[in-house]
């Protein structure tokens, strides 16, 4: 491909007496120039790191040891916010709910979406159609769909109407016992499409010759799935598990819109609790401490998964 207007930079550094020295000079200048260009192109992200990510991550750590309401000067508290976070009933409930949510959401969404991906991988017709169907919940905005599900879960909603058709008793979907499960159901519905696509990418990456080898060895369909597909997919399982845990720890919109964290604290999630403490009660120090506790939990779970991979993840 011809780059228009080329030669400008080359001409500027040309005209050497000794061609070798000239080349060295040219290359040397080029590397410095390249560094400068690199720095320039990287500048936005460096600003991001400083102002919006790494900087705030450090700042939040410091804030978490203070009492700060945005108006008065922050006051140093030591570990008080953390001890409060570990003992406060409401926050403990938020931790438990979030843990329960992650524990159910991640495996169930992964298993169902894998099933769908295996179906799509059968080279059937209408892949685009099915993919679009499963992607509707993924791309539709979270507030609208959460409102929708609030009506679906309503006492007089369709779900209970269907149960009624089959002569079953109505379920209090948003009652104390069931509400968190209902939110998990909605989240699975919402997450299937994207997970399915990741699985599909994984399935299509399994080398065909492995299946052939398995066939030559007399392996049936189950044997091929068990001894080829499953091992080859294990890196994906790990990746999707890690991403799933990180993402689902942050569940916010569903519980904010559908139940507002209730009834009682039944669906209060960590993200919602942090939002309330920080931006409804303006207890910035406490909210930051809770955010760090959440981060710590995510970090520990991720590390465990990372460490445990050597026992089950298969690498070629």
């Amino acid at each position: 491909m011809q780059v228009r207007g080329s030669g400008g930079a080359a001409a500027a550094s040309a005209g050497p007496v000794n061609p070798l020295r000239g080349l060295r000079q040219f290359l040397g200048r080029n590397i410095i120039q390249e560094q400068l260009w690199g720095l320039l192109l990287m500048l936005p992200y460096l600003i991001n790191l400083l102002l919006f990510t790494a900087g705030p991550i450090i700042a939040a750590f410091l804030i978490s040891f203070t009492n700060y309401d945005l108006i008065r000067r922050p006051e140093w508290l030591g570990f008080e916010n953390y001890t409060l976070g570990a003992t406060d009933k409401q926050t403990i409930a938020a931790f438990k709910n979030t843990g329960y949510y992650v524990l159910w959401y991640v495996p169930s969404s992964m298993i169902i979406s894998l099933l769908l991906a295996i179906g799509l991988n059968e080279r059937i017709r209408g892949i685009t159609f099915y993919r679009t169907l499963f992607f509707l919940p993924v791309v539709a905005s979270g507030v609208a769909t959460a409102l929708l599900w609030r009506f679906i879960f309503n006492k007089r909603g369709v779900l209970n109407w269907v149960l009624d058709l089959f002569g079953l008793d109505a379920v209090q979907w948003l009652g104390f016992e069931m509400a968190l499960n209902s939110i998990i159901i909605m989240s699975v519905w919402q997450g299937l499409g994207i997970l399915m696509m990741y699985w599909l990418a994984g399935l299509q990456g399994v080398p065909q010759h492995l299946y052939e080898a398995a066939e030559i060895d007399g392996g049936g369909r189950w044997a091929k799935f068990r001894h080829v597909t499953v091992p080859m997919l294990t890196p994906f399982v790990l990746l999707l598990m890690i991403l799933g845990v990180i993402g689902s720890f942050q569940v916010f919109t569903a519980s904010y819109i559908i139940t507002g964290g209730g009834p009682g604290y039944a669906t209060l999630t960590l993200a919602l609790q942090i939002y309330r403490m920080g931006f409804e009660n303006f207890r910035m120090g406490y909210a930051a401490a809770l955010a760090y506790m959440m981060f710590l939990a995510v970090f520990i779970v991720t590390m465990i998964q990372w460490w445990a991979q050597k026992y089950w993840v298969h690498y070629e």
């Binding site: 491909m1 780059v3 080329s6 030669g7 930079a9 080359a10 120039q33 390249e34 560094q35 260009w37 690199g38 320039l40 936005p44 992200y45 991001n48 790191l49 102002l51 919006f52 990510t53 991550i57 939040a60 945005l70 169902i112 179906g119 059937i124 169907l133 499963f134 992607f135 509707l136 919940p137 791309v139 905005s141 979270g142 507030v143 609208a144 409102l147 929708l148 009506f151 679906i152 007089r156 519905w189 299937l192 499409g193 696509m197 990741y198 990418a201 994984g202 080398p207 052939e212 066939e215 990180i246 942050q250 904010y256 960590l270 939002y275 920080g278 910035m284 909210a287 930051a288 955010a291």
Partner: protein, 299 residues
């Protein structure tokens, strides 16, 4: 070429399977099973939207109470939509959301591409360390940065403005940078080598060679950022106070709490609000699918 080969291999494998043991019947049975499973789940994925559509056109349901039994055929009361749009400045909210989303998407596409290009191709001192830091930040929940960011924007006097919602996008997003980098790494170096010998500078190579080649990844990032920013609730709800600045998500969330919820109005606006990202996805899904396959998830 590789694709053709696997395709050929697949056909051979299938042919052997058919002739060897279980026969054509088995393949058909598997396909039928796949159709059944996909159709059932696809139906379940779609059904809630149909219900939303029904409720938005409902002639009877109004304040607080749902129909029992629910209507299964729409009653086509399109008035509900005009009524809903008249209840709150929802039209305004739509325009706001459009502008904000556009600003966020364009910013994220451009600035993330630049950083991704540097990570993939430029010899910059310390970039490997920077890359690891970037990956590490992906693990940090946004709740951690939320509070210091809020304090920062308060000092900039940006509370109750749109700036906190789109300006950060113009400094890149870590996952988008990652996707770009992964993609750029797969591109052959011949083209840029030629351009380099011709004396083109890295910016020029980036703009004239890399950007034109990265449609799938641009589409992927565009969809992800569009969907995320269109439907976001957490950030707008924290930063926006004045109603005229609301996005559609904040408007819906606010409206939900208003006295005597009007179900049809809520669902009409809901219907309208889910359409733009869906249309966006449908238009770009070919690129998006390729983008996902080409980047991080396939290595």
């Amino acid at each position: 070429m590789a694709i053709q080969q696997t395709e050929a291999a697949r056909r051979v494998a299938e042919a052997t399977t058919i002739s060897l043991s279980r026969g054509r019947k088995d393949v058909r049975r598997r396909k039928i099973f796949a159709y059944v499973v996909l159709s059932i789940f696809g139906f379940l994925a779609f059904l809630p939207f149909y219900y939303m559509f029904l409720m938005s056109l409902d002639a009877k349901a109004g304040f607080g109470a749902l129909d029992w039994p629910p209507q299964l055929i729409p009653s086509w009361k399109w008035d509900n939509y005009t009524t809903a749009l008249g209840m709150m400045p929802f039209g305004r909210f739509f325009i706001n959301t459009f502008i904000l989303t556009l600003l966020s998407v364009s910013g994220a596409i451009i600035s993330s591409a630049a950083a991704g290009y540097v990570f993939a191709r430029i010899r910059l001192k310390g970039k490997n360390a920077l890359f690891i830091i970037m990956l590490a930040t992906l693990m940090v929940p946004p709740q951690v940065t939320l509070i210091p960011q809020f304090i920062l924007f308060k000092h900039l006097d940006w509370l109750n403005t749109w700036h906190p919602l789109w300006v950060p996008n113009w400094t890149g997003q870590a996952f988008a940078i990652f996707l770009y980098r992964q993609y750029f790494m797969t591109l052959p170096t011949e083209l840029e080598d030629a351009a380099r010998i011709d004396g083109a500078n890295p910016l020029r190579i980036f703009l004239q060679i890399f950007i034109p080649l990265s449609k799938p990844i641009i589409a992927t990032v565009a969809i992800i950022v569009f969907v995320g920013s269109w439907g976001d609730l957490l950030y707008p709800i924290i930063y926006l106070r004045d109603q005229e600045l609301y996005t559609i998500s904040v408007g819906l969330a606010f409206f939900r709490g208003a006295q005597g919820i009007n179900i049809t109005a809520l669902m009409s606006v809901g219907m309208l609000s889910v359409l733009p990202p869906i249309i966006m996805f449908m238009l770009m899904q070919g690129y998006f699918v390729r983008g996902v396959v080409l980047t991080g998830l396939k290595q």
